[in-house]
Symmetry: C7
Subunit: 97 residues, 7 copies
Amino acid sequence: MAKRLIPCLNRVLIEKIIPPSKTSAGILLPESTSKLNSGKVVAVGPGHHDREGKLIPVSVKEGDTVLLPEYGGTEVKLDDKEYHLFRDDDILGTLHE
Amino acid sequence: MAKRLIPCLNRVLIEKIIPPSKTSAGILLPESTSKLNSGKVVAVGPGHHDREGKLIPVSVKEGDTVLLPEYGGTEVKLDDKEYHLFRDDDILGTLHE
Amino acid sequence: MAKRLIPCLNRVLIEKIIPPSKTSAGILLPESTSKLNSGKVVAVGPGHHDREGKLIPVSVKEGDTVLLPEYGGTEVKLDDKEYHLFRDDDILGTLHE
Amino acid sequence: MAKRLIPCLNRVLIEKIIPPSKTSAGILLPESTSKLNSGKVVAVGPGHHDREGKLIPVSVKEGDTVLLPEYGGTEVKLDDKEYHLFRDDDILGTLHE
Amino acid sequence: MAKRLIPCLNRVLIEKIIPPSKTSAGILLPESTSKLNSGKVVAVGPGHHDREGKLIPVSVKEGDTVLLPEYGGTEVKLDDKEYHLFRDDDILGTLHE
Amino acid sequence: MAKRLIPCLNRVLIEKIIPPSKTSAGILLPESTSKLNSGKVVAVGPGHHDREGKLIPVSVKEGDTVLLPEYGGTEVKLDDKEYHLFRDDDILGTLHE
Amino acid sequence: MAKRLIPCLNRVLIEKIIPPSKTSAGILLPESTSKLNSGKVVAVGPGHHDREGKLIPVSVKEGDTVLLPEYGGTEVKLDDKEYHLFRDDDILGTLHE
């Protein structure tokens, strides 16, 4: 039975996207091609309470592709698959084709 | 008579789960298999007051299996059994099969 | 006339419990037996004002047995008896048989 | 398909304006001519929640020309084009001809 | 004409009590006898405004005997008499016979 | 076309006043004459949101002569003219003849 | 025309009182006589906004004699006269004969 993690408070569980080293036609991409530090949102927490006790929901949702900061995030291994936990306010933005 | 601890404010009493070193069939697991730092919630505090004085209850409950951060937590021995006290907002998430 | 101290704001006056070195039958306890850093609540302050000016009462009461953090607390000697003053939010929890 | 980034919370995506090294008539500008650290707003986040949970929108909008602080900002490469992400409250002002 | 000081905000003017070195019968007290760092409240400020602008009065009053922290306090000499100014929330408690 | 800067949030654009080195009658002023670090307000931002989301306007206005702190402020060159950007709460006061 | 300074926000303009070195009868006072670090309030700012946006007026007024902390304050020279600017909450108290 696979393990599932529901993040607490305003944490977001993300599976990092490994940038392709080759084009779809199989051509090796030069090292310098920009590599976006991005990932897929797998699960989100309920949000956090502001000082008035109101629940502020997380600003991204399951399935979003998000741009991640260079540093930070907590590594989590579930059934030998690697994920990262970020706080909602550390996520830089959502990526759209 | 066993000692029971009711945590104060938003603290959570947790009994750590020792990851199995063998499979259920008795086969030794390689060292590298991912070891989740997790535990069972034994008792929770009443929660903490936000700045408006409202009581924000703890986000996990007794019986939950939770994912713990690598560091932190206060070790507590009750009747020679080892527990750990964490603040609610240090708990990373709840684990579900 | 004994001196009595009423703590200010959210402070709690505690008399530390010295863990027994022998069992009730007089047998010396091994050094390693877990020694709980606990104490008896002797007096509590009125509580502190949250940002809205509302009074948040102290979460423990006179007579409670409480679990104390390893460090912290201010030593106070009243009539040659030793007490410790802790802030309410430093107390880890209440102990119950 | 070009990648588009929608910044989270009160972040602002900016394309820096490279100050001209020549006048429109082609004359080389002396090194000392003042070089404004400015840029064009490409996209803005929804804003951030204040302590009351109210959403405070970002104070600049798409298309604005803004004056940037000397330091700070996160570099982001989208389809090999360079952008910078700034927090709304780090932007110094809007420039108008 | 003696100088009088009315403390500002939540400050408290205190005259320290010098612990007796002899018993009332004139017997020298051993050095080790506990010396309480205490004092008499001479004047109190009006209190301070919480974040909502409400005035939170000082928690001790003129004439109270108070227990002082080991460190802190601002020394003030008025007409060659020595006093100390403490913030209300630094005062540990009130002493009662 | 001259460039105009509208400061963001509670920033204030100031043109520093260079203290005269001679009296109006042309007499050289001694070095030691007090030199006020002052300036003219050229433009002000809309103000900043307090924690309740209310807009707190800037406390000085265009045309005011203001006293500036010894340090701080961000230098900004617009069309080779030098200005300084200060945060409203860093400005010491307004000067009046 | 003398320059006048109206402090911003919760700042207070103070002219320090130089403690007399002789008694009124002209007798030299010993070095050790207590020298109060005090001053006269010359002008006060409008006050500062609390988090709710409400204006909290300054707690001292023009003409008050105030006790100043040993350190702090910004020196300001207006028409060769020396003043000091203090924040309201740094002023220790008001002095009354």
